[in-house]
Symmetry: C2
Subunit: 633 residues, 2 copies
């Protein structure tokens, strides 16, 4: 086995083929600004907060109990709790790779020792299965999450190998992967896990090690699923995408995290095996899903019951599920498609999702999180007690930890590796996908060093300046994504259309290229097929979805009794819409002849970024605002 | 113990106090017409269908296995499956009381023998708990459903005692009730069951037996709940109404079946103990729930995840849960409030619920059922296989049986006792609440015999003729409910207002009183606070909610691309709305500038009763239709 000590590939997904090549975490880093601030909160607060809760709940202690023969009696947490430790380790691996923080590495290695001690001689590792008194290994593929758990273990090991070189965790991951290939290989158990994740993980392990069997195994898992290899369940086999083979499906469906993870793994397999049909199938599913099953925020999955996509256009803002982890799965998927195909639409969705879900979930202090991300809060929530496990769906205020606590650790690994999603290179130059203050030092595909400084106060301001710091003498192409909403954008003063703004020329160090994106507020209306928000508009500003929050309204005004004029303007740095308040009808039965509600006054409503909501105590909130004349289509 | 052999009280709820006295099943019977047809299907087809499935699934066999010491190994079904047998027995008891069908009684007694054989010496009876290898009795009050199960056992025993006199099942029920009082009495376990039902059951047993301890125990259960006596769960304690004491709550909340059953039991306790505060509290909750948390169909409970009420005005038509059992619970509650307080608004809701949920659920052949009753079907469902258990929430087409199969048996007992909900008497006369062809022979509170024949083709036609067949010579009052929607109604040609139309006079045999209810189609708009149906109208005709179904549309017209003129008319017996079809925008992202969809044509859309939908194969369906000019408020 050859393992690349891959500092140059220290990036979450490193395909060996495709239109664009990702940058490693030492090739691109964030400078102070919107995302760096959040990444630092993740590093300095969230990682320790997560570690604290993993100890407090005993989920980390499960590994000690395993090593010491105290299972199953001593076990705590859900069947998939091991994965929270793996995702924390992945986050720590990226952070160490990025910062070289030795104190952090010490904590990382202490946890890895405890994890490694629990691995069984044949490579199997799971604190919930296989011991006397526990369910046998792989006895519950539908719900047991064993392969899902291996997937996160492998991702953590891969992250470490890429960020700092292979270590004990990486070797644990390799042994686990070998075990999986043995048990589930071509001659083994012909099934899959109820929750996808092993698929992209095995492809990444293939990419790090060059071991073809991992790729073959991932492909086997992708191909098996959809052939009704799992038992039927109350939610139907679509819940875990076992209703239709990936290459035949037309849209993402079922559990949104499972769906996006599986699709990401399918892209990985398609790219590494040159399977254009499979890649096209996933790209087609992405387009259907984005055009019919995605919230304005980029959130995916409208249903609480099964954390699942609804039917086309079933996107109710109240009780929107829009799980934080599904947003992360969406970014994983869009990023892989972007690398494979180069279409800036993928980066558009990543931007929307980052600014409106990934930035929304964490509390300002990094010690609380939204699990779900509703677009309409009707009743003010209650502040969660700081020391209590909150059920996952209680999303009215950010909570420190959850009974199912996948989102905090998933955010941690995402923030730690966030810079990787900003830019790529190809044979011909550099592509900047996401706008944040950052430093880039990389090489073009041909080997020429290239560097630039990106300066911007985006998304507050629309100006992005790219200053070339290192460049070959020969011409190359600088490509800047113009977001789909950015009508009126200019590049060095010349109008550019949404899509790619490309400059092909010779550059010299010191050259500055300026992209201006129009970030004045704009009115957005929904597709008329989305019944739940008929007669409403939203206001956006640049990539930011805005919302109205009760704490900004005059006393006595109920957010649900507002009717707005579909026009927004910016005054003294605040976006304001004008509206009237109406008195709802007093009635014993809420259906009858059409009633024109009585207007009781006019009001100016300041709108705030959606990602800032519920940071000033309990409140009600709306993204979609009913319009005063009732017409939006 | 005195047991009234209560043929004259053969009715589901027989309070000893209150404004109105119910009629027994031998005092009122249905004649051919809308409801009699359905009651006959229930009797001739559904009862045998249910019995078949209870045998096939082994849920009935669980009792044999218990008696023969084959549990837990041989047990099948969910923890509450015993209750389906009890609800079938209740249905059979009412049917036998009504018809005297000896073959049915034979089947009933055969099942009762099997149930009785499983009762333990101390009165405990549950096939899922308490044996070696099973969870201990009452070890899981949150989810175990043991007291809920006793509640249905007692209701079945009470039904039999009332309909035909006390029998073996009644004695089993009494022993079970004594056991419950022993274990959960004032000095016993101070808790409640996660699913209410024991409360109304114990009050009915008190009513039959006169044993005060059953009433005291019911009151204890009602008073204990809401004081956080159950453990917290993911859905919160409101799920089983343990968040707030009944007398302090302002609205029904949590699991809709649990909520309505509990409220029904609280009314029973309040009436029997003269607790005006408790009665007022439940009446207040009923009003809030009806004005803010009830679907146009009368359906209750909008959430799939926890089968629960949503927040005020969260009533999405797509994926409306509106469980059939919650509608039955709603009828139980409204009926008890009607008997206690005499307000015709309660009968209005019963009518709406009967015609639009209870009549919707069963298939025409009585061998399939809706578990949930959505108001908007976006994608045609698939025909369930005739021999397969369907998950409960798969509501696109009626299914023969469910993994959780509470609704078929609940419908069976409701249809079997349906005539009881039509009329009442009080000191002064007779009240007719629901209009169906029926024969009434009863006595006024003073003891005077009174009788009438009700003739009507309601709801197809609005004419209701009441012909007096027996009457005292002294004046009395005939009260006819004028539904809240019936503006323009007449009584013997004179205009009457919604509410009570009362005739106080001397009657003679042969007198005919004619109520004319206007059943022409009418447009209904929603309260503007119900976001999910903004910009839509529904069409109703008398008590019937209408809907548009794809199978009635011209080929190629998508139900979701209709915009209607808010006007409906009746032509040749069919209700028709006129609308235009629009071409939805083709877009990669479903949010943007306001788009006026292109009108592609005009179309006439026939509307059918909602209760008739999905009887002609897979289809899409809408109750709420977007209006063409976008304005409804």
């Amino acid at each position: 086995m050859t393992v690349s000590i891959g500092n140059e590939l220290a990036t979450p997904a490193a395909p060996s083929a495709g239109r664009l090549r990702p940058l490693g975490l030492r090739e691109i880093s964030l400078k102070p600004g919107f995302w760096r601030e959040r990444q630092e909160i993740n590093r300095t607060a969230s990682l320790a907060h997560i570690e604290h809760w993993l100890e407090k709940t005993g989920w980390l202690g499960n590994f000690d109990a395993a090593a010491e023969g105290r299972l199953p009696g001593a076990r705590t947490g859900r069947e998939f709790s091991d994965t929270e430790i793996y995702k924390l380790l992945e986050a720590m691996a990226w952070e160490y790779g990025r910062t070289g923080d030795e104190a952090l590495d010490e904590r990382y290695r202490a946890i890895v020792r405890r994890v490694a001690a629990a691995q069984e001689p044949d490579g199997y590792l799971n604190t919930n299965f296989g011991r006397p008194g526990q369910a046998p290994r792989y006895s519950d593929l539908e719900w047991g999450h064993e392969l899902y758990s291996f997937g996160h273990l492998i991702q953590a090991g891969v992250a470490r190998a890429r960020a700092a070189g292979p270590d004990e965790l990486f070797r644990v991951a390799v042994r686990a992967a070998d075990h999986v290939c043995e048990v589930f290989g071509p001659d083994g158990t012909a099934s899959v896990c109820g929750h996808a994740e092993i698929e992209p993980a095995l492809v990444e392990l293939y990419r790090v090690t060059g071991e073809r069997r991992y790729l073959d195994q991932a492909r086997l898992f992708v191909e098996r699923r959809g052939n009704r290899v799992l038992a039927d369940i109350e939610f139907g086999r679509s819940y875990f995408q076992d209703d239709l083979p990936v290459r035949r499906a037309g849209v993402l469906r079922g559990h949104a995290v499972r769906a996006t993870y599986l699709a990401a793994g399918a892209v990985d397999v398609a790219v590494e095996t040159g399977d254009a049909e499979l890649l096209d199938a996933v790209a087609r599913q992405w387009r259907s899903t984005v055009s019919r099953r995605t919230y304005l925020t980029g959130g995916m999955g409208s249903r609480h019951q099964d954390e699942a996509f609804g039917e086309d256009f079933v996107l109710p803002p109240d009780r929107a599920y829009a799980e934080t982890c599904a947003a992360i799965g969406s970014v994983m998927l869009s990023w892989r498609l972007l690398l494979a195909q180069g279409d800036p639409a993928y980066a558009d969705l990543i931007e929307r999702t980052l600014f409106n879900v990934i930035a929304t979930s964490p509390a300002d202090d990094g010690r609380g999180f939204f699990y779900t991300n509703t677009l309409h809060q009707r009743v003010p929530g209650t502040e969660p007690a700081p020391d209590v496990l909150v059920p996952r769906a209680a999303s009215s205020l950010r909570a420190p930890w959850f009974a199912v606590s996948c989102c905090p650790t998933n955010l941690a690994r995402t923030y730690a590796s966030l810079a990787a999603y900003l830019a790529t290179v190809d044979d011909d130059g550099l592509q900047i996908h996401q706008y944040a203050a950052a430093t880039v030092t990389t090489t073009l595909a041909g080997g020429s060093p290239i560097g630039c400084e990106i300066d911007t106060r985006y998304p507050d301001e629309g100006r992005v300046a790219v200053r070339i710091t290192e460049t070959p003498a020969t011409p190359w192409t600088l490509s800047l994504r113009v977001p789909h909403w950015a009508a009126g954008a200019t590049l060095d003063g010349r109008p550019v259309e949404p899509g790619w703004a490309r400059l092909h020329r010779r550059f010299a160090p010191g050259d500055v290229v300026v992209l201006e994106l129009p970030v004045q507020p704009r009115i957005t209306a929904p597709d008329p097929r989305i019944d739940a928000i008929r007669g409403c508009v939203a206001v956006e500003r640049g990539p930011i979805v805005l919302c109205a929050e009760s704490v900004d309204l005059p006393a006595g005004v109920d957010l649900n009794d507002l009717r707005v004029v579909p026009h927004a303007e910016e005054r003294d740095g605040a976006v304001v819409v004008t509206g009237r308040t109406v008195r709802p009808p007093a009635q014993d039965w809420p259906y009858g002849l059409a009633l024109e509600p009585v207007t009781t006054g006019t009001v100016e409503v300041p709108l705030r970024p959606y990602h800032r909501w519920a940071r000033r105590g309990p409140s009600t909130m709306r993204v979609w605002l009913p319009v005063a004349d009732g017409r939006t289509e």
